[in-house]
C-alpha cells in the first residue's frame, strides 16, 4: 500500500472575484523508497498539493471542498491541528524553494537544529539514542551530536565547527543542505521537497539532488519532488505526475511518461525544454500547438 494516497482532492481559494477552484480532483500516490516528481507550470497547484499533505494551506482563504489524503491509512483531512503538529517534522519533512529565507536569521544553525532534534525527541526519545530517563544535559549533547551527524550526512564540510555559524554565513547550496538535514532530523518517512533546487545553480543543484537520491535509498523515504524542471525529473524521479490547472493530466513511471507522453500538455512541456538543436521560433510554435490542443 502506498504511504500517501491523495484521493480526488478539491481545494478552492477565496479571492476578490469569489471562490476559485485551485485543486480540481488531485489523485496521487507516494510510495516508500520512490521519488515521485510533480511537474507543471506556475500556478498548476504543485505546491498547494504538497502543502495540503501537511495541512499548511491557510484556511481561510483556502477551503477544502472534498477529497481525502490517506497517510498510512489515516485520513489527514479529518485530523485536527494537534495531530498534524505531531506528524509534521516527525513523519513528514518539508523543504522549500528558497533556502535564503527559510532559516531564522537570529540564531546559529546549531541552536535551530538542536531545537528541532529536542522537540522531535520529546515525542520519540529513540531519535537521540537515549532512554527516556536521560538528563537535560545529556539530551542536549546527544541532540547536538545528531545535528552534526546530519550536517555531515548532507555534505557540509567540517560540520562540527560549521554548525555554530549563522545562516548568513552559509551559501545558498549549503543552506539548502542544512534545511534537508533539518527536515530529516526527526526521521520522517515522507519528504516533501518543494522546488528544492530552483534557487540553486546547476553544480550545487547536482550536489543537492545527489543527497536526496542517496537518502531515499538509505532510509526508504517516500519523496514528493515538486519541480518544473523536467531534466531533474528525468534524473532522479521514479514516478512523475504532470499537473495542470489543478488536475493531474498524466502520471506513471518516469520512463513511460517522458518517452511516450499521452497527453498534449505533457508533450508541450517536453517540447518547451530548449535544446541546442532548436532554432529561433521553435518554442513559440510548440506553445501555439499546445494552445490549439485545448
Amino acid at each position: 500500500m502506498a504511504l500517501v494516497e491523495i484521493r480526488n482532492l478539491h481545494l478552492a481559494m477565496r479571492t476578490h472575484d469569489g471562490e476559485i477552484p485551485v485543486l480540481r480532483g488531485i489523485n496521487l500516490e507516494l510510495e516508500r523508497g520512490r521519488i515521485t516528481g510533480v511537474v507543471g507550470e506556475t500556478g498548476s497547484g504543485k505546491s498547494l498539493t504538497g502543502l495540503s499533505i501537511s495541512k499548511l494551506v491557510p484556511t481561510p482563504p483556502g477551503r477544502y471542498l472534498s477529497g481525502s489524503i490517506l497517510y498510512n491509512g489515516q485520513d489527514l483531512m479529518q485530523a485536527d491541528e494537534g495531530a498534524m503538529q505531531a506528524l509534521r517534522g516527525r513523519e513528514i519533512g518539508m523543504i522549500f524553494q528558497d533556502p535564503t529565507t527559510n532559516l531564522n536569521p537570529s540564531f546559529r544553525i546549531a541552536t535551530q537544529m538542536i531545537d528541532i532534534a529536542l522537540s522531535a525527541a520529546s515525542k520519540d526519545p529513540a531519535i537521540l539514542g537515549l532512554g527516556s530517563m536521560a538528563s537535560r544535559r545529556e539530551r542536549r549533547i546527544a541532540a547536538r551530536a545528531r545535528a552534526v551527524e546530519m550536517l555531515g550526512r548532507v555534505g557540509i564540510p567540517e560540520p562540527a565547527e560549521r554548525i555554530d555559524a549563522y545562516p548568513h554565513q552559509f551559501s545558498g547550496g549549503m543552506r539548502q543542505r542544512v534545511l534537508i538535514a533539518m527536515a530529516l532530523l526527526g526521521r520522517p518517512r515522507l519528504l516533501i521537497a518543494d522546488e528544492p533546487t530552483t534557487a540553486l545553480d546547476v553544480s550545487v543543484q547536482a550536489q543537492v539532488l545527489r543527497v536526496i537520491y542517496d537518502l531515499v535509498r538509505e532510509r526508504d523515504l517516500a519523496v514528493m519532488f515538486i519541480t518544473h524542471n523536467l531534466g531533474v525529473v528525468a534524473q532522479i524521479c521514479d514516478d512523475v505526475a504532470v499537473l495542470r490547472t489543478g488536475e493531474v493530466v498524466e502520471s506513471g513511471p518516469v520512463s513511460t511518461v517522458l518517452k511516450s507522453p499521452n497527453h498534449a500538455y505533457t508533450k508541450a512541456l517536453l517540447v518547451s525544454v530548449p535544446t541546442r538543436a532548436m532554432r529561433r521560433g521553435d518554442l513559440r510554435v510548440a506553445f501555439e500547438g499546445e494552445g490549439a490542443a485545448e
Binding site: N104, E161, M182
Partner: protein, 298 residues
C-alpha cells in the same frame, strides 16, 4: 574546539568582528551619535554616584541655609543657590538618579506591556487583533499626561505610582510597532518552515518571531527614555509624583517659577539638565537606529 584548525575556523570569528566593526562604523558615521554616548554615559555615571560626589550632601537631606539664599552662580555654588539656600548643583546632580530611574522604568514597563499586547494581537489576528487594537486606540486617544494624572491621583502620589501611571499611558506605541513587525515576520518563510517542522504557536512566537522584532523595539525604547524623563519632569512640575524635598528636576522648575526672572539660575540649570538628557537619549536612539536598521536612514 581544540581539534585541528582548518581554514574555515578563522572565517567565523573574523566575520563576527567584521559585523561588530561595521555596526561601530555605522554608529560613528554620525558625530551626534558619539556625542549622545558621552551625554548618556555621563548621565548614567551621575545617576549612580551622584549623591556621593555632590559638594553639599546635607542639602539633600533637607538642610536649609537661609543666610545664603539666592546666591548667583559662583566658585562655591556653581549653579547658585535656591530660595532656601540649597546648592542647586547638588540638587541637579542628585535629581539625575530619580529622573533616569523613572524614565527607564516607564519605558521598560511600557515596552513589556506593549510588546506582549502587540505581539499577541499581530500573531493571532482576527477578533483578538480587533479587540486588542481597538483597546490600544482607546488608550491612545487619551492624552498621556492627563491619563497619568488621573492614575497617579487615584493611586496616590509616589514615585512608583507615577512610573506605573506613565507606563500605562505609554505602551500603545510599543504595541503598534510590535504588531506591525509581527504581521510582517509571521509571513516569513522560516515561520512556515518551523510549522512544517511541527512547531506550535508558542514556539513559533517565542523562538522565531520575537527574537526577530527586537531591534525596532530597542530603538524606540532608547528614543523614548528622553521623552519619559520629560514626562516625569512634567508631572513633577504640576505637582503629581515626586514631592519636595526629594530633588527632582520638574519639581525644582515648578518651585523656581516664582523666582523668575530675577533668580534665573534656579530654573535654568534644572531645565538644562532635562534638555541635555532628552537630547542625549534622542540622539542615542538615532544612532542605534543607524546600527540596527541602516535602510531607515534618511
Amino acid at each position: 574546539m581544540s581539534a585541528k584548525r582548518g581554514p574555515s575556523d578563522r572565517v567565523a570569528p573574523s566575520r563576527q568582528r567584521v559585523a561588530l566593526s561595521r555596526a561601530f562604523y555605522r554608529f560613528n558615521q554620525n558625530p551626534l551619535s558619539i556625542l549622545s554616548v558621552f551625554i548618556v554615559g555621563a548621565l548614567l555615571i551621575i545617576a549612580v554616584i551622584g549623591p556621593l560626589i555632590v559638594p553639599f550632601p546635607d542639602h539633600l537631606l533637607g538642610q536649609t541655609n537661609p543666610a545664603s539664599r539666592f546666591l548667583p552662580p559662583s566658585g562655591d555654588h556653581w549653579f547658585g543657590t535656591n530660595e532656601v539656600g540649597q546648592d542647586i548643583f547638588t540638587l541637579v546632580l542628585a535629581g539625575a538618579r530619580i529622573s533616569l530611574l523613572c524614565g527607564l522604568g516607564v519605558v521598560v514597563m511600557a515596552a513589556v506591556i506593549g510588546t506582549i499586547i502587540g505581539t499577541i494581537s499581530g500573531f493571532f489576528g482576527r477578533w483578538v487583533d480587533e479587540v486588542l487594537m481597538r483597546f490600544t486606540d482607546l488608550v491612545l486617544t487619551l492624552p498621556a499626561l492627563i491619563l497619568a494624572m488621573a492614575i497617579a491621583a487615584s493611586l496616590g502620589p509616589s514615585i512608583l505610582n507615577m512610573t506605573i501611571a506613565l507606563a500605562l499611558a505609554w505602551w500603545p506605541g510599543f504595541a503598534r510597532i510590535a504588531r506591525g513587525e509581527v504581521l510582517s515576520k509571521k509571513e516569513e518563510l522560516f515561520v512556515l518552515g518551523a510549522k512544517a517542522q511541527g512547531a506550535g504557536a508558542t514556539r513559533i512566537l517565542l523562538r522565531h518571531i520575537l527574537p526577530n522584532i527586537t531591534s525596532p523595539i530597542i530603538v524606540k525604547m532608547s528614543l523614548d527614555v528622553g521623552f519619559a524623563i520629560l514626562a516625569v519632569a512634567s508631572l513633577g512640575f504640576i505637582g503629581i509624583g515626586v514631592r519636595p524635598p526629594t530633588p527632582e528636576w520638574g519639581v525644582m522648575l515648578s518651585v523656581s517659577r516664582s523666582n523668575m526672572p530675577h533668580y534665573w539660575w534656579t530654573a535654568v540649570f534644572p531645565g538644562l539638565a532635562i534638555f541635555l538628557s532628552v537630547l542625549g537619549f534622542n540622539l542615542l536612539g538615532d544612532g542605534l537606529r543607524d546600527v540596527f536598521d541602516p535602510k531607515a536612514r534618511r
